[in-house]
């Protein structure tokens, strides 16, 4: 306490303190506009304060970290303290997502918004049950309808909870597919298809039944 800050006691706390307090009472990320509106700070001051808070709540020095995620700012525990937090809460983590669920999310993220039929087609299997589960977990949402299709089926999109779960600031905060997929592997697939005469599994001939 080297600096005197009597103003704090009199109800004019500094910018960082105001933001800190608001973030403590919000389990969800708070957008910059919401922060500005609650704290009545000018944007430049708020940004500078957020930067200072980022240093203070950094993953190297603190059990609480400031995350910039899902379009906002959030205080969360440092994953390095995971064991203590989980011992304290004495509860099972929600079951991790299945491989199929990750595939469906990847479809919607990279090819979406997509209809259920679009997801099924991309994966080559019926994914309705997986989609239902992801809607349940608030990781997917029905956002609008595809008016070009008969019956105008619902379009699926990823949610804010999905961005949170993935620790992403926004939809754009994911590497492009081109960066993830190995070109060599793609050409191997292409070769295999064009060179593939026989099918790997002989399917039963049900034509006569």
């Amino acid at each position: 306490m080297s600096v005197r800050r009597d103003n704090l006691e009199q109800g004019t706390p500094d910018a960082a303190a105001l933001i800190e307090a608001v973030l403590l009472v919000s389990p969800r990320p708070v957008t910059l506009p919401a922060l500005l509106s609650a704290t009545a700070l000018p944007e430049s001051e708020a940004r500078a304060a957020l930067e200072a808070l980022g240093a203070r709540y950094s993953s190297e020095s603190s059990g609480i970290v400031l995350r910039e995620v899902a379009g906002g700012y959030q205080l969360a525990t440092n994953p390095s303290c995971e064991a203590a937090v989980e011992r304290f809460r004495e509860e099972a983590r929600p079951a991790p997502l299945s491989g199929a669920a990750h595939e469906v999310l990847s479809c919607v993220l990279y090819l979406g918004p997509l209809t259920r039929a679009g997801v099924n087609a991309a994966r080559g299997v019926n994914s309705d049950a997986v989609v239902r589960n992801l809607l349940d977990r608030n990781l997917l949402i029905e956002a609008g309808r595809d008016q070009t299709k008969p019956g105008a089926p619902a379009l699926l999109d990823v949610t804010e909870d999905f961005l949170l779960a993935a620790g992403a600031r926004s939809r754009d905060d994911f590497p492009a597919l081109a960066e993830i997929v190995d070109e060599a592997e793609i050409s191997r697939v292409r070769e295999r298809v064009s060179g593939a005469a026989e099918r790997p599994v002989e399917a039963p001939h049900g034509g006569d039944g």
């Binding site: 973030l23 403590l24 009472v25 919000s26 389990p27 969800r28 970290v65 995350r67 959030q74 205080l75 969360a76 525990t77 440092n78 994953p79 995971e82 937090v85 983590r93 991790p96 997502l97 491989g99 990750h102 595939e103 999310l105 990847s106 479809c107 993220l109 990279y110 090819l111 991309a122 994966r123 080559g124 299997v125 019926n126 049950a129 949170l164 779960a165 993935a166 620790g167 994911f174 597919l177 993830i180 997929v181 190995d182 592997e185 793609i186 697939v189 292409r190 298809v193 064009s194 026989e198 099918r199 790997p200 599994v201 002989e202 399917a203 039963p204 001939h205 049900g206 034509g207 039944g209």
Partner: protein, 248 residues
């Protein structure tokens, strides 16, 4: 559901009835419908089916449920067959082979595009998995202020739907009744591959001396090898004899 208190024990598979979105009635009826192609296998939620079975036939202490082991293994047998059928139905290649000439499927270009897209999706999914698991240990502040009473809206309709969904779901199946699993898919993969060195082998021959559990695991091993293209499975008709062949 026939879960009358009086006699939950000593029943056979014939008395197992199920209640699924796509079908309700005796389990054997479901099998018949699938075999007669009147019900699409991929409409059948196998996991839910297993849950229903476990729920209708809770594990009982040894000696208290005569016939339970037989019934359980019968169920495992038929369920693994369903899994095989389902795997087939969902395999990208088999769907178009049904009823059509093999050559009449999508053009190689279409197929190539589909596979490339799928490959990308798959790699994207792997990246997502890593990212999501890397972010799982951030716990948010729980010092939330409750919103002013009345700001949160909960729809009674959604509650009713949720109740329906929750009450129709059944508990995760226990596997305690199967005893200790002493065999792994890996072991049986090795066994199958060494058998294939001498040429095609029928599944029946392969599992002749195995107990029910081992043969179920062998089934899984064969499926996984087939999926990797390391063997070919042929079965002229559903539930007919199954032959394992080395890859061509």
């Amino acid at each position: 559901m026939n879960t009358e208190k009086g006699e939950p024990k000593g029943r056979t598979l014939a008395s197992f009835t199920i209640e699924l979105d796509v079908y309700s009635g005796p389990y054997e009826g479901l099998l018949a419908l699938i075999l007669k192609d009147e019900l699409e296998i991929f409409e059948v939620p196998l996991r839910e089916l297993v849950s229903l079975y476990r729920n209708a036939n809770p594990p009982a202490p040894p000696g208290e449920a005569p016939g339970a082991l037989e019934r359980d293994t019968d169920f495992v047998d038929s369920a693994t067959s369903l899994i095989l059928l389902k795997g087939r139905a969902l395999a990208p290649y088999s769907a178009e082979a049904e009823g059509e000439d093999a050559e009449e499927g999508p053009s190689p270009e279409d197929l190539e595009e589909r596979l490339v897209t799928y490959l990308k999706i798959k790699r994207g999914a792997e990246a997502l998995r890593e990212r999501i698991s890397g972010n799982a240990a951030y716990y948010p502040s729980v010092h939330a202020l409750h919103p002013r009473p009345g700001r949160l809206r909960i729809s009674p309709n959604r509650l009713a739907t949720a109740a329906r969904r929750a009450f129709l779901r059944t508990a995760e199946p226990g596997v305690g009744h199967l005893g200790t699993v002493t065999v792994t898919v890996g072991e049986l993969v090795a066994l199958i591959r060494s058998a294939l060195v001498r040429g095609p082998v029928s599944f029946e021959d392969l599992v002749r001396d195995m107990d029910r559990l081992r043969s179920a695991v062998a089934f899984a091993a064969a499926l996984s090898l087939a999926a990797q293209g390391r063997l070919t499975l042929t079965q002229p008709e559903p539930f007919g004899p199954l032959t394992l062949e080395p890859p061509k």
